[in-house]
């Protein structure tokens, strides 16, 4: 019966990804590029959800990982003249280290303390980017446009910021993340992570060393967030502290909860809806933060399971 739901959910996600693939040929320019941005941010949310949704750990410092990946990639390109791929790997490696170190400390705490520790580490990271501004270009950040090489496909050159390159790279990233999380969630490890979310001490008393599994989840989530950050740097050619600020740690919480924490595909919906909500609102009123705030509150009161969470509960029992 697990096999059945695995197939179902792979089909379901495959369908959505296929839809996204087709969309790129139909979408008007603006939405074409919005959707590529949404897919990168959604990948970040998927990575975040891995921790919040499946392991039950809420972090208020994930911008640290996103920014770590972004800055590693960006500064790598700027100073070390890394290739795009090199930068991506460098970003991944760097966040892997960061999240491992972070996890070793932070996971000694849990619940509210964990939340605040993540907040504090995130803030420290943000401040250190400002502090070492000689090297990081501080608050202004920097543009990679001039330093980034070109992508060569069948000896044809493309800019990474080329709309089609951007769209499809984003799509590949998202696909990889969705696939990986689905497979993990259907593997024994995924079962244990969910058990930890449901009842940590009981899981421990089933003979699992909970700490290691939490560390695994955190490192995976952190590293994936970092890769998303690095990808963002490549495709959108700007690196700045705005991606290390606390707001950028709050966003994935919002996206994940709205889409449905603990559903693989949920964060994609959450991100898409929120992105367009802000986009439309900011056209109407100057005050989209008001809406974001209101959505957060209403959601947590009336809609704690989010969109896909509710769907799963009602109809799509097999949804991972």
């Amino acid at each position: 019966m697990r096999k059945k739901s695995l197939i179902y959910s792979l089909l379901f996600q495959g369908g959505i990804l296929l839809l996204l693939f087709i969309l790129q040929f139909i979408l008007p320019t603006y939405h074409h590029s919005s959707v590529s941005k949404i897919m990168v941010l959604a990948s970040y949310a998927v990575a975040y959800n891995f921790l919040l949704g499946y392991t039950g750990l809420m972090s208020l410092g994930h911008a640290m990982f996103f920014a770590a990946g972004m800055y590693a990639a960006g500064l790598g390109i700027y100073y070390l003249e890394l290739s795009a791929l090199g930068a991506l790997l460098f970003g991944a490696a760097f966040t892997l280290v960061i999240s491992l170190l972070f996890g070793l400390f932070a996971l000694r705490t849990s619940g509210v303390s964990f939340l605040i520790v993540t907040l504090m580490f995130g803030q420290t990271f943000y401040l250190s980017i400002l502090y070492f501004n000689e090297f990081t270009f501080g608050q202004d950040g920097f543009s990679l446009a001039k330093h980034l090489g070109k992508l060569v496909i069948f000896n044809k050159e493309y800019l990474y910021s080329n709309p089609d390159v951007r769209y499809n790279f984003a799509l590949i990233l998202l696909t990889a993340y969705l696939l990986i999380s689905t497979l993990i969630m259907f593997s024994p490890v995924g079962r244990i992570l969910i058990a930890i979310r449901e009842n940590e001490s009981r899981t421990q008393l089933l003979g699992y060393n909970v700490y290691y599994y939490k560390l695994f989840a955190l490192v995976l989530s952190g590293t994936f967030s970092g890769i998303a950050g690095a990808m963002h740097a490549l495709l959108f050619t700007y690196v700045g502290t705005t991606f290390a600020e606390i707001h950028h740690s709050i966003s994935p919480i919002l996206w994940t909860l709205l889409g449905g924490a603990g559903t693989v595909i949920g964060p994609l919906f959450g991100t898409g809806i929120m992105y367009y909500l802000v986009d439309i609102i900011s056209g109407i009123t100057s005050n989209y933060q008001l809406v974001v705030g209101a959505v957060l509150i209403l959601m947590i009161i009336w809609f704690p399971m989010g969109i896909m969470g509710t769907l799963r509960q009602k109809w799509m029992k097999w949804l991972p």
Binding site: F105, A106, I116, M120, I253, L290, G293, A294, L296, I301
Partner: protein, 297 residues
């Protein structure tokens, strides 16, 4: 040695002086956060916004009366009351609905933070608005001068802290609060109206932050973004002091206030903030119970 004193004596003196003032205000703000956590077991991310509202209200009071002293007194009474009202409202219609679940509460209060901030932007506008101090004089030390009002702020914060302490040990409310903090279930069985207590505590917490806002606004003007900084600082304080412990909170406020003063006088201020946040993270990791107060999890 003596040369060092001659050179850095004034700096040290100022660091201590400034640090002490900061510490008192910080203690007042952090105490609100600490009470809320201690009794209700929740972290209120919107706490800094309550502080901001206090400052903003006192600008309106100043604008209304057009007299520093009367405006100040009016704000002193009104701001905490209004903010307390807002707190009660959000307790009743948000926190109670989500049963004070720790994580949900954090999300909800983040939402509250955004809402309060944007509404303030709409009503109050984006600029920083100055409020005249109720009474203002300058104290001349051999090396430099200092604001007399800052000392008054420290004094009044001290009174505020004393007031809370008396409330806790003398009043029935205080008794109830301590009972609820000890053990919610037992408190219930002994007929403590915990729902009311929760509302009261949340209002008290918000009120204290607002009070701090009123006191501080004449030495640093009011603007709609002023909430985040004190929020982070009082986090730091409350954690180092031990979540939920009043004594710890006050002690920690002094440690942070003065050390921040000293580090940023003798070294880089950004560095000071970096170290402070890192330090807090480490305290939480290595000594989760803080200086005083009980384990969190």
């Amino acid at each position: 040695m003596s040369s060092w004193i001659n050179e850095n004596g004034p700096l040290l003196f100022l660091a201590l002086l400034d640090g002490t003032v900061t510490a008192f205000v910080l203690a007042l703000i952090a105490l609100g956060l600490s009470l809320v956590f201690g009794v209700m077991r929740i972290v209120n991310i919107a706490h800094g916004e309550f502080f901001m509202l206090g400052a903003v209200f006192s600008w309106f009071a100043f604008d209304l009366t057009d007299d520093p002293l009367w405006g100040f007194l009016l704000a002193l009474v009104l701001a905490p009351a209004l903010v307390g009202g807002i707190a009660v409202f959000s307790d009743r219609f948000i926190l109670r609905k989500i049963k004070y679940h720790p994580e949900s509460t954090i999300v909800a209060t983040i939402g509250l933070l955004y809402v309060i901030q944007s509404l303030t932007l709409i009503v109050f506008g984006p600029e920083a608005r100055a409020v005249e101090a109720p009474l203002y004089f300058r104290i001349q030390f051999p090396w430099f001068g200092y604001s007399g009002y800052k000392l008054i702020v420290a004094g009044m914060s001290a009174l505020g802290l004393l007031g809370v302490w008396l409330l806790m040990i003398r009043s029935k409310l205080g008794l109830y609060m301590r009972a609820t903090q000890q053990d919610l279930e037992i408190a219930k069985t002994y007929g403590v109206p915990t729902k009311k207590i929760y509302a009261a505590v949340f209002a008290l917490g918000g009120g204290l932050a607002a009070l701090a806002g009123v006191l501080v606004v004449p030495i640093r003007q009011a603007d709609h973004l002023m909430g985040l900084e004190p929020l982070l600082l009082s986090f730091i304080v409350v954690i180092i002091g031990g979540l939920g412990s009043i004594r710890g909170t006050i002690v920690a406020a002094f440690i942070i206030g003065i050390s921040d003063g000293i580090i940023s006088v003798f070294y880089e201020p950004t560095l000071a903030k970096m170290l402070a946040t890192l330090f807090v993270a480490m305290v939480l990791v290595l000594k989760p119970s803080g200086l005083y107060g009980e384990e969190v999890a």
